[in-house]
Symmetry: C2
Subunit: 272 residues, 2 copies
């Protein structure tokens, strides 16, 4: 019997933190990752543009017969998820809903902090998702634009990273949030530092972990999980030359990437 | 008599530091600025892609009858300048040559430092340009990836910026460079901090200033300068929604931007 893969995409390398959690939770699954490195970042682009890109990439992955799609990108999850669910005949999982759900479950006080890129925070996607689950929740948000370049630079525990975290997180800490959602796929790399900055009374919610948990639940419910005795294969596609993706990606995935192939979505479209 | 405009383009807002110097040097000139905000950044894209984008944007500006083109983007200057010069019948000025020329003029020791984005440094474009002018020059380079997000965040004189500058510039300082080229259009915003970090014995070369000087020389030589009694108008076009461009751009331009229009280069191409 042949098993279908889990498809995962992001605008760049960030989604590899989600892939890492998926591999950790379900090492038997085959995966196909697509990083749109030619068009990264999405956060500064209009919703129309992001929706168009998301449909192109999902078509590419669906042609490779994936059984489930993970949108490992906060920007796409915020603007394109419902459209993708309507348009493609497979389960589609974003990164916002799982993180929001977990935050509501673990918060005792209902005061929940959310950090992310400027685009994600401005979209209010996490605030809305949390409020849908608990209308009484109080959501405090903060954009942390320097966290992405710090993570990509590998500056995750030096003094620059520490001062940046203190500056960004001070207000949330003083406001007394008891739960903080890491609303950007790059942030798991900074988790030890964010944890240290917020102190032991604040529970961190890692959207990457929660998304992997959602994927496992859905595949289990639909009886689409491979037997745990198997060992998964992992394929990587990017839209621009792979060198930078490989260099930064190895740090993000916490291990060695396999082969990374470059594809041109325009050519694919004509062929498809 | 009607006067033609100076055309300027960059992948985003950074080129506004070049525009600022052009307006300072030639306040009588009309300008048209194009920021490719839908596709920023270029530094991570392949040369083929960058060349294609540069030709699209130059065509857009040439249709608006510009008299000279300023490529206010280091990535494009490094890979596409010769192609643009061959293909379009107007003078084309990049940001690398003027900075390299000035560095060779002012350096006494011939030990010249160059800082820029990872892409610019990896391209060795400044090193080659400097060596062409002085084969004996010793060029020391350093990529400073966090400087762009620091400038866009407006963190240009706090402790995070200071420690980042110290970390990036320490080796160049210890190596005893007497001249440092700011090889990225975002870096003029950090000039006071970089100056403080390098100390009074190091001359900073601001590529934006030198590029404006080159433009003035060429227009003067070709008798294309407007009379100094005139007052220039400034138009701005971007390829994605203008909100973020306007917010960050006002800081970069050191003043109020006028109206900013969004254009879709695909539509333009059909129409053109």
């Amino acid at each position: 019997m042949s098993w279908r893969s889990i498809g995962i995409f992001d605008s760049g390398v960030g989604g590899l933190t989600v892939l890492r959690e998926i591999i950790k939770a379900m090492p038997q699954e085959d995966t196909i990752y697509f990083g749109d490195t030619a068009r990264v970042p999405y956060g500064t682009k209009s919703p129309e543009t992001v929706i168009r890109y998301a449909h192109e990439i999902t078509s590419f992955l669906v042609r490779r017969d994936i059984k489930l799609l993970v949108v490992a990108c906060n920007t796409v999850s915020a603007v394109a998820l419902n459209g993708l669910k309507r348009h493609f005949p497979i389960p589609v999982v974003g990164v916002i809903e799982p993180g929001a759900k977990r935050a509501v479950e673990v918060s005792r006080s209902g005061r929940i902090g959310v950090i992310g890129t400027a685009g994600t925070i401005k979209s209010s996607a996490y605030s809305r998702a949390i409020k849908r689950l608990n209308a009484q929740a109080e959501v405090l948000t903060r954009a942390c634009p320097l966290f992405v370049p710090l993570a990509e630079e590998g500056w995750i525990d030096n003094q620059v990273a520490r001062l940046t975290a203190q500056s960004y997180l001070q207000d949330l800490k003083e406001a007394g949030v008891d739960t903080l959602v890491l609303g950007c796929t790059h942030y798991p790399l900074l988790k030890p530092l964010i944890c240290e900055t917020m102190g032991p009374d604040v529970t961190l919610v890692d959207s990457a972990e929660e998304t992997a948990r959602s994927v496992a639940e859905i595949l289990s419910r639909k009886k689409l999980l491979r037997p745990p005795s198997e060992k998964g294969n992992h394929h990587y596609f990017v839209s621009d030359v792979p060198a930078a993706f490989i260099r930064v990606g190895n740090r993000f995935l916490g291990g060695r990437l396999g082969d990374v192939y470059q594809v041109n979505l325009d050519d694919e479209r004509e062929e498809g």
